[in-house]
Symmetry: C2
């Protein structure tokens, strides 16, 4: 059995280990602390930093095939491992393209994959100055200043979205600019600005592509956001869209995975605009929050699908088994410290609710601490169930 | 979170750890070797012998609630732990009653739970002699001699079944006596003999009972045996029986669990006789082979149900999600040594087949090395799928 190595020991790594446990397949994890979610379930846990070249090289050389559960890994080391003959999926150049939202957007545009109109800010100047000076303090204009300038001269009008090119996740690194006031707290650093979509629904499709170029897409999901907070309320599968929209969403996601030539999983977040057009919002080259429900709701989970790709086994059927609704379990507001779960009885008393806790030892407001997947005979039933279960569980400190 | 301790680190312990991983719930395992199936997935593994009083006492004192995955544990230590205030489920006196097939049968008969007519061989003499002499060598007649005598004097006629009172599992410890010839190789040691059922089908119902006396039964399964070898071919859920039979089987299983007053799982193996009557064959106070399919085929798995009982959480819905067929993966004949799986591609290429490998490092003929659960839109489809998958997988040595 090929030993699988995963860079990152968070919940996505944990759930991949969990899928591998069915097969008793060896999975090694590299991350900073044995307190992290994946540690108890990896067959071997290596303490180290996936951002450090030496750590990634040593770890990569100790396994047969390497993957990631987070994009912010040291890809230089991954390129070197590929040069040494190691199998690394997704491929390092794909991770590079995607982890920088600027190059990701340029890639989408270049391949005529529908996405919102955008512009990179300060990219050219930054790069040329960096090359010449190697000293950021000498930069005369910052990317935010460039954004402000573009608004001042009428190139961009409100509302639009500013995104940090790197380091953003879970809503971080995204800033919505609706007015002059929002120009005052622009994100620092290299960024892109993009036209705000006129959103009817947010959708997502996780696509799996193996080393032979075979593709399997998971059913399209609908993400329902809180009306005021920029937070996922819950996620529904199947999405409440017609067959044509579903086909177009799936087709766009598949074409995106094919364009990248990714081997592994590509989670494609989509905007369904009010005019019926669909845009790629952004992509992630790994298991994704929008695929959590696949554990119970689909024949093959996204985690097992990734394992099948990594081990060279045939991909599995992605059909939906039951309608489902998935809600993240977030740390309660006002609570930062050692984790305590309040209301487990209520969750476990809800019919057909599957609780996943990630074992994070400390909680903080809105931190992802787990998720709940509810199944139903109908989507409405699943939705009611997940809402009831979510409302009965609170992650607090005592 | 209450720390759960399990005596035994085989596949049943492994799958219980696996269920607990969803909740990130701490599970400690006591067994002899870190090579055993549960070891990589327990949050803590203690090397020791669950047959040794000191080991069980030390382990039991280190956890909050204790359970078993095998009956042959040191129950004296468990009684002592209960006396010290430890929660032990199933209760030690229930394990005692069940682990001796003689007292188990007597219990069934005493509680008017239908079972085959039987007789214990040499029990009275054994016990009285043991009390007096503490020396087995002084026993004048062995239980097998007593069996032979009962046949000679016409008390018992062929065919009948001889069962060792302790230590039997997976078909071991059961001897079918069809003729004089079979009398020559009777099992040694204390035994019981029972009337052979006139079997139409073999059924099983796993019953869960919590500390409040609440009961949830899993759907009745049908076990299909190989026509010549005494081996489970595969197992089907739902069983191919009518509603009345199903109700009577479930009712008998529930009454059995209630009679024992067990807290935990009771797997009740049943004979459906050709005259329509149902007998309890035997029971096991733990997760059971006949509940493997519940992982994918039911809303709550038998493993998660046990965890809910151990942690005091409400029991879950046991409804069937899809028809299923389950086949054990057995070591191939003629192969003893380091395990190698041949034909994984075939298994993973079968639609809706879920592979479970237990990670046993050495294989031998007919050893349980894993199991396969297939789901189908119909039972027939599930059956075809599991047969195809099973036939493509071989556990061999290279």
């Amino acid at each position: 059995m090929k030993t699988i190595g995963i860079l990152g020991g968070g919940q996505l790594g944990k759930m991949t280990c969990h899928a591998a446990a069915d097969w008793h397949w060896p999975v090694h994890i590299l991350d900073k602390s044995r307190d992290f979610p994946a540690a108890p379930y990896a067959t071997h846990f290596v303490e180290g930093d996936f951002r450090r070249s030496e750590d990634v090289l040593a770890f990569g050389r100790s396994v047969d095939v390497l993957t990631i559960e987070i994009e912010s890994v040291n890809t230089e080391a991954l390129h070197q491992l590929v040069a040494e003959g190691k199998e690394v999926y997704p491929q390092p150049h794909v991770i590079d393209l995607i982890k920088d939202k600027g190059t990701q957007k340029e890639f989408l545009a270049k391949h005529e994959l529908a996405t919102s109109p955008f512009e990179l800010c300060d990219q050219s100047r930054l790069i040329s100055l960096q090359e010449k000076l190697r000293d950021f303090d000498l930069l005369e204009t910052s990317p935010p200043a460039e954004v402000q300038e573009k608004v001042a001269n009428g190139e961009w009008t409100f509302p639009f979205v500013q995104k940090a090119r790197t380091g953003g996740y879970d809503g971080r690194g995204v800033h919505i600019v609706r007015s002059e006031k929002d120009l005052e707290n622009l994100l620092p650093g290299p960024c892109l600005i993009e036209k705000m979509a006129d959103i009817d629904k947010e959708l997502a499709v996780v696509v799996a592509r193996d080393a032979n170029g075979q593709i399997r897409a998971f059913p399209c999901v609908e993400m329902v956001f809180h009306p005021t907070a920029n937070l996922l309320e819950y996620q529904l599968c199947p999405a409440r869209i017609n067959g044509d929209t579903q086909d177009r969403a799936t087709d766009l996601a598949i074409r995106t995975a094919e364009a990248f030539g990714i081997v592994g999983l590509l989670a494609v977040e989509l905007f369904l605009n009010k005019d019926g057009s669909i845009w790629v919002n952004e992509v992630a080259p790994r298991p994704h929050n929008s695929g959590h429900h696949t554990i119970e709701a689909c024949v093959t989970s996204q985690y097992q699908q990734l394992l099948r790709i990594l081990t060279g086994l045939p991909m599995g059927d992605t059909d939906m088994r039951h309608p489902s609704a998935m809600a993240n379990v977030l740390g309660a507001e006002g609570h930062t410290g050692p984790t305590h779960y309040d209301g487990l009885d209520g969750v476990m008393g809800s019919p057909a609710v599957f609780m996943h806790l990630y074992g994070k030892t400390t909680t903080k407001p809105f931190r992802k601490m787990g998720h709940l997947t509810a199944l139903g005979d109908t989507l409405e039933q699943a939705e009611e169930r997940v809402k009831a279960a979510r409302d009965s569980l609170r992650v607090i400190t005592r």
